[in-house]
Point group: C2
Chain length 224, copies 2
DNA sequence: TAAAAAGTGTTGTTTTTACAACAAAAATAT
DNA sequence: ATATTTTTGTTGTAAAAACAACACTTTTTA
């Protein structure tokens, strides 16, 4: 079966057998399609027919609001799914456009077949739904974390909220962050240079120490 | 059956029959419990055994970070569920505490029974899972909206992002928001008085008009 | 209906941030 | 190894926000 290797290594098909994958491909009325860089995979405002799964390459999710402002909602990479929340929430139209940021291979799965109970009794359908649920649940938790940081008013508070969480996750005062500083500023929605300045101050005040992505937070020095 | 009226009016049990509810109560190993104001329903750091559903009253979800800062993550009201994302994401411990903000009635449902396929073949188990998925999906979309607003840097941009979306939803330049101004400032994480000032400026500049919760946005006047 | 509470609008001051422009260091590509 | 690009650090200035304090209005409660 074509693309079986790509399929089984995704979180949602999660090591399913080739036979089971084949059955699901039929059940979900899937089709594979490749896109070149900058091609639209999904177009904002179009009717939601499919949930998409990125099998190779990457894409960005872009939204245009009523005022015409374009914003990047998120990035999709291998294994990521788009459209599942809207599908379950009962939305009729795609909220965003998905645009290939490089050459990529995409699996389209029929929305109705996916979210409704399987009539074909295809063995792993339930497992896929559970995997999807986990994906959405994880996404939810990530968004909540980000919201916690962004709802702080000052850059310093945002940084401490983020670094504190990272430290907590690492169960250590020493930890590495998954961003470079430019990306971190972007993630926290603050000006990069202002953030660097603030990090510098915090270092000088002895609250934190850092080098590149390596951080050391002096939790004891941070007043409650 | 006790509390059947409360159960069937929730989104997750969604008009299930009394018989089906009864079966699910057994299947999910549920128990009902009432709490007085300020009592802990769930305690941060404790092992996740149950998913909770608020049947009467309301509660707040509160988080204490590693630095000791307490923040209100969200509010729960009748019909709301807590713990489902963490359960599906495989977390072991509750991320937050849930505290009754008034006298309330809570349903505890066993996490494992709920998220794993039903062995009792109880008729509506799948439907409940689908309803849960819709809940989580909707929550996801709400969080994404809020993030869109919060990631704008200025108060004006935050307001326009929010009001623009509300207008889009209402399919009209005239719409009513579900917050009073104090709540809106809180939602957008900006200072209330600064927000009022900004709203005043925008009104003076002819971008918007408003009275209490009634807004009129002049989309044509907003430059792209 | 009176009193209390909640919500809204305004102002001035202080603090913080965004922004722009640039320099230097580090990483990557050729 | 050298050139190019990316990342990081610094500064000054202008703009914006937070904060605090208060007056006024509306809504809720007793």
């Amino acid at each position: 079966m074509e693309y079986f290797q790509e399929l089984k290594s995704t979180k949602i098909f999660d090591s399913a057998s080739e036979f089971d994958c084949q059955a699901m491909m039929f059940c979900f009325k899937t089709r594979f399609k490749t896109f070149d860089k900058n091609e639209n995979i999904v177009t904002q405002g179009n009717k939601i027919e499919d949930i998409i799964l990125i099998l190779k390459g990457g894409a960005i999710v872009e939204n245009i609001d009523i005022l015409g402002n374009i914003s990047i909602v998120m990035q999709l990479k291998k294994g990521d799914v788009y459209g599942i929340e809207s599908a379950y929430a009962g939305d009729e139209f795609y909220k965003d456009s998905v645009i290939a940021s490089e050459k990529c291979l995409v699996l389209f799965m029929n929305k109705h077949r996916l979210i409704n109970p399987c009539e074909n009794k295809c063995k792993r359908h339930d497992a896929v739904v559970k995997n999807l649920m986990r994906l959405v649940a994880e996404s939810n938790l990530k968004l909540l974390d980000k919201l916690t940081h962004l709802s702080k008013k000052s850059t310093r508070e945002k940084l401490l909220s983020y670094l504190g969480l990272m430290s907590e996750r690492a169960k250590s005062d020493y930890f590495e962050i998954p961003f470079n500083l430019t990306e971190l500023a972007n993630y926290l929605s603050v000006d990069r240079s202002a953030m660097t300045t603030e990090l510098g101050k915090m270092k000088k005040e002895g609250l934190i120490d850092y080098d590149k992505r390596q951080f050391h937070i002096f939790n004891n020095k941070i007043k409650y």
